[in-house]
């Protein structure tokens, strides 16, 4: 893919010499100079030395040369960046820009200047665009009742109604939590996809001859090129799950960090999530003796890297943990409420086998099956994303029929699918067809009591079709 790097030429010592680099003097002061550019790349990285540029002017100039601004990586390196760190950073951004797969009109969220003055109304506003998420309703599990994005969103931008999620772009200050918490990867923010993060992390690590640290930073904060570290910008660091931090280590980063913006006025307020994700990652590394294995020279990442698996995808978190366990030859178990993986338990004395948990489970970690008059609920820990939707849907939750523990346990992950509960199914006395799980019918009988024993008897012995017969 044809990718250009537009660099402000005002600080010649920071102009990188590489193919595709176009130095433009005065670009920081006047981004519209891009309009005169004769190259017409499909993707671009813009390197500036000042953060005082006008984003809407830059985006306007990019559109004039037919580049989608939402896919453009802008790097503000200040005036005293480290040139080698800068080259590495730029290489990462080039790969990230190339992994951008385009945006739809719905992804652009205009951001108007905060200053509201009468003078400001002398001319129409020129809002900058930021990238906002959108839902792919064809893969969204809301139809089964999933509300994971509603639970994750700190700004109430998502609402669930009648099996469909609605999204309010006005309410959303994109933080990305919906993206990493969606069990079916139905929500995508085109400026921060799993593929883009994967491409950037791999590129910056490959571009460095020395040990390099990866630092995830909030896009609202400043990003710089610092010796020994490379920065990966995300909408908000509270979107980062522990598996992203571990993925960076597995891919070869010598250390990894998620840095909250520290802005007291931040509407997202996700610092505690960053801390918890870091704690999980740290606990995993400690239990696996990861550091010792690295020092011993084991190439932990080789097999994973060769496979080309995207370790940043939510669906691959379990595989990442198992790979880590295999590579270090250890088993580990880390518990946290915000864990990306979970373990479901069912109390067979209170579960009625109604199957609601399996119906709502967006990843099919829970599955209901019926065979030879026996109904069963099974569970695959590798598929569970700790979304707790099963608990929300269970009609017997008050009696503790189901519980989810936020737990990364490699032994449980390796177990594969296991049975959690099973029971017989009542059959119709007349036609022989299945009516419902016996445990469910018993529960209905208990709720209705003696007073309705005839009704209960009829419900237990007749299917819907045969209830009117003799």
């Amino acid at each position: 893919m044809n990718t250009a790097v537009f660099v402000c030429g005002d600080s010649p010592e920071l102009v990188i010499s590489a193919p595709g680099v176009v130095a433009i003097e005065g670009l920081c002061r006047d981004p519209s100079l891009l309009r005169a550019c004769e190259t017409h790349p499909e993707r671009a990285v813009v390197v500036l030395h000042s953060d005082s540029y006008d984003l809407s002017t830059l985006q306007k100039a990019l559109r004039s040369i037919s580049i989608d601004p939402l896919g453009v990586q802008v790097l503000d390196v200040g005036s005293d960046g480290d040139p080698s760190a800068l080259s590495r950073q730029v290489e990462g951004l080039i790969q990230r820009a190339r992994a951008f797969s385009g945006s739809a009109p719905e992804h652009a969220k205009p951001v108007f200047s905060n200053a509201v003055t009468r003078r400001g109304f002398l001319r129409p506003p020129t809002p900058a665009s930021i990238s906002a998420p959108q839902i792919d309703h064809s893969t969204c599990a809301a139809g089964d009742g999933c509300r994971a994005c509603v639970d994750a969103c700190p700004q109430d931008a998502y609402k669930w109604s009648a099996g469909r999620i609605s999204y309010n772009k006005d309410a959303c200050a994109p933080c990305g939590r919906c993206v990493t918490s969606c069990p079916t990867a139905a929500i995508e923010n085109p400026a921060t996809t799993f593929a883009m993060i994967d491409a950037q992390v791999r590129a910056v690590i490959a571009a460095s001859d020395e040990p390099i640290g990866v630092r995830f930073v909030c896009s609202r904060g400043s990003v710089g090129a610092t010796s020994g570290w490379t920065e990966i910008s995300v909408p908000c660091t509270s979107m980062i799950p522990a598996s992203w931090l571990l993925a960076c280590r597995l891919l070869g980063a010598s250390c990894v960090k998620a840095v909250p913006c520290g802005d007291a006025g931040c509407p997202i307020d996700g610092d505690s999530l960053v801390t918890e994700a870091s704690d999980i990652a740290r606990a995993v590394l400690e239990q696996t003796g990861f550091e010792a294995a690295m020092i011993a020279g084991d190439s932990l990442s080789e097999s994973i890297e060769r496979s080309g698996t995207n370790l940043f995808e939510t669906a691959n978190a379990a595989d990442l943990m198992l790979s880590l366990a295999a590579a270090t030859g250890t088993e580990f178990s880390v518990e946290s409420k915000v864990s990306q993986l979970g373990i479901v338990s069912i109390d067979d004395t209170t579960c009625t086998l109604c199957g609601q948990c399996a119906k709502i489970c967006p990843t099919n970690a829970l599955r209901e099956s019926y065979e030879d008059g026996v109904v069963s609920i099974s569970f695959d820990a590798k598929a569970c994303v700790n979304c707790n939707q099963c608990m929300a849907e269970c009609p017997e939750i008050e009696r503790g029929a189901i519980s989810v523990q936020g737990l990364i346990d490699t032994r449980r992950l390796a177990d594969g699918r296991i049975g959690l509960n099973e029971g017989t199914v009542s059959s119709c006395e007349i036609c022989g067809n299945a009516i419902a799980p016996t445990q469910m019918m018993n529960r209905i009988g208990d709720l209705l009591g003696e007073e309705f024993k005839d009704t209960v008897r009829m419900l237990e012995t007749r299917c819907l079709d045969c209830r009117g017969r003799g």
Binding site: S64, P105, E106, V116, G120, L122, P124, P125
Partner: protein, 220 residues
């Protein structure tokens, strides 16, 4: 206020332009579209995310499009065939409940809305809820807005932006994305592919942009 006037006039022209592009193709109309695009290109649409779609459409328009081929494609996409219509270009098809009389009731309420804007249907053209009619209504509103700015009636201009915003939010932005996704799914000829991308980008941006202006004006 010159820039407000210019912007309103450009939007007036763009709505009329894309509305006309989605009418049944005729040689004369295509020639007018080419001439209109040359005028519209004088305006800088690059501040809006749909500007790339706009340029892409102009490229197709200027590529010597055959009216006969377009007419065949128009009928395939928007006409009623044995297997239905790939993409109905009327709002009621997406919004009216599926029961007898619902389309008529929907259209009547839309016409009442048009009357409240000072527009009366004289018949003979496309249906009131046809995409071209609704885009033409937006063009009319932008024209009213431009005249208000020109005559120094800023409050009236802002009120008109409020009406535009409401009309886009309640109508265009609701059904046009569904319509354009159907058009694109039908693998249309480049002319209708690019036109769909443009009208989709336009209404989504206008929905956000006009709402943003209305919000800001209420803070003053």
């Amino acid at each position: 206020m010159t820039e407000w006037v210019d912007e309103a006039r450009a939007r007036q022209g763009l709505y009329r332009f894309i509305g006309a592009a989605l009418l049944p193709p005729e040689r004369g109309r295509l020639e007018l579209l080419v001439a209109a695009s040359a005028i519209l290109q004088e305006y800088d649409f690059d501040k809006s995310p749909y500007s790339i779609a706009w340029r892409n459409f102009v490229v197709v328009l200027e590529s010597d499009v055959s009216p006969e081929d377009l007419a065949i494609e128009y009928v395939r996409l928007f006409g009623v065939g044995f297997s239905g219509t790939p993409a109905m270009p009327t709002e009621s098809n997406y919004r009216a409940p599926n029961r007898d009389g619902a389309v008529a009731a929907f259209t009547a309420s839309l016409q009442a809305e048009f009357r409240s804007m000072g527009l009366v249907s004289v018949g003979g053209g496309e249906a009131p809820d046809h995409i071209s009619t609704e885009l033409e209504v937006m063009s009319y509103l932008c024209g009213v807005e431009a005249e208000s700015w020109e005559s120094g009636q800023e409050t009236l201009a802002m009120d008109t932006i409020g009406i535009e915003s409401r009309f886009v939010r309640q109508h265009l932005a609701v059904w046009i994305p569904m319509f354009t996704s159907l058009v694109l799914a039908a693998r249309p000829a480049p002319f209708y592919e690019r036109a769909s991308e443009l009208v989709h980008g336009l209404v989504i941006h206008e929905n956000d942009y006009l709402a943003g202006i209305v919000d800001r004006s209420s803070e003053l």
